[in-house]
């Protein structure tokens, strides 16, 4: 009986949303002193603040032609990564991570989440609503830097450049504030895209919010057996 309860508990923990978390020390560079951007990259449950191992991913700025270097770190007792980038000119910079596929045995699927963060520097704000051109991507419809807690965030999910209709978008707060959830259902908020691929969400607390539009497509093999791939178009937004 104890074994069954333990197994159920473990599954319940595992089933909460995985997020490839990509958080920077700022989303808005106002002066030279802030121009050294530092990134934390980890594979975690952001609300519960528990982690998983993240194999070495690749980090880019603006396109796959500009790859950043990585340094290994530890997040919630698991392997994670850090990166840095020095912003030298005014502009809107789009950073994104390309991870290795992660096999999730409890859900019998592979997970490939590609998160992005948009950073404005030196007052220039043009271009935040333009896609990078990823296969699965969230395009913000609300200026993604300079948001307050309580603001409505709207985004459009694109799949191969077209609006992704009726897609689930999971939302979690990076809960460094130790907020307690009233029930398990409150940990991951879920919304769906409309006929134009658009979703809306009010961020009711300050901090980093992760949005993960999940599209199941393709298969990968694990120990000779094929499993579906959960492709995630992720975006991290900071509310002040």
């Amino acid at each position: 009986m104890a074994k069954v309860i333990l197994s159920l508990l473990a599954t319940a923990i595992v089933l909460n949303a995985h997020f490839l978390t990509f958080i920077s020390n700022t989303d808005n560079v106002s002066n030279e002193k802030q121009s050294n951007i530092e990134f934390d990259i980890s594979f975690i449950h952001p609300f519960e603040q528990t982690g998983m191992t993240l194999l070495k991913p690749k980090v880019y700025v603006n396109s796959k032609e500009n790859q950043l270097s990585l340094k290994q770190s530890i997040k919630f007792n698991h392997k994670a990564w850090q990166s840095t980038y020095k912003i030298k000119r005014p502009g809107v910079y789009k950073f994104f991570v390309e991870p290795k596929p992660y096999f999730e045995p409890a859900e019998e699927k592979f997970i490939i989440h590609v998160p992005k963060v948009i950073i404005s520097s030196f007052g220039l704000e043009d271009g935040w609503d333009e896609p990078i051109g990823l296969k699965y991507e969230i395009i913000p419809m609300t200026k993604p830097f300079g948001l307050y807690a309580g603001n409505l965030f709207q985004g459009k999910v694109l799949h191969d450049g077209n609006p992704a209709v009726d897609v689930e978008v999971e939302v979690e707060l990076f809960n460094k504030y130790e907020l307690k959830e009233p029930s398990d259902a409150h940990i991951t908020q879920v919304i769906k895209t409309d006929a134009n691929g658009v979703f809306s969400f009010v961020m009711n607390h300050k901090g980093w919010w992760g949005f993960a539009a999940l599209i199941e497509e393709g298969e990968l093999k694990h120990e000779g057996k094929s499993y579906p791939i959960e492709n995630g178009a992720l975006m991290w937004i900071k509310a002040y």
């Binding site: 007052g123 220039l124 704000e125 043009d126």
Partner: protein
């Protein structure tokens, strides 16, 4: 209430046109770049450069909102006036000043100025000479 709404509208309008100033220093050159949040350049905006409250340069930015400048002072204050009450100013410290290079640059600038004056006078002389010939 109407007045309040009007004032808040004006404030939001002012912010939407907030002018930014980015100054970078590579070697001897100081690039002054002024722009609006939407990426539009501060075209032909008035530029003032001061040192110790004294104006050392008054000019206009180019169509890209850029001005390249060589300073002989380590501490300068850059002011860009986009008109309509949109002014931005920034103090800037220049670490790499080689005074000899600056002297050479200033000397060349002065020589160029004299050359232009001589050339202008020469063109005027030719013009009057041709005019005299035609009168005859």
């Amino acid at each position: 209430m109407k007045h309040l709404l009007f004032v808040s509208f004006l404030i939001s309008l002012c912010f939407a046109h907030k002018v930014n100033l980015f100054i970078s220093n590579e070697g001897e050159n100081i690039e002054i770049y002024s722009y609006f949040a939407n990426g539009t350049a501060c075209k032909n905006c008035t530029l003032l450069i001061k040192n110790d409250e004294k104006i050392i340069l008054e000019d206009k930015l180019n169509k890209e909102g850029i001005y390249n400048y060589k300073s002989e002072y380590k501490n300068i204050e850059v002011i860009v006036d986009a008109s309509g009450g949109h002014i931005v100013k920034k103090s800037f410290y220049i670490s790499q000043i080689k005074h000899e290079d600056i002297k050479e640059y200033k000397q060349k600038e002065q020589e160029d100025k004299y050359l232009k004056i001589i050339l202008g006078l020469f063109i005027l002389l030719i013009f009057f000479y041709i005019l005299k010939r035609f009168k005859k």
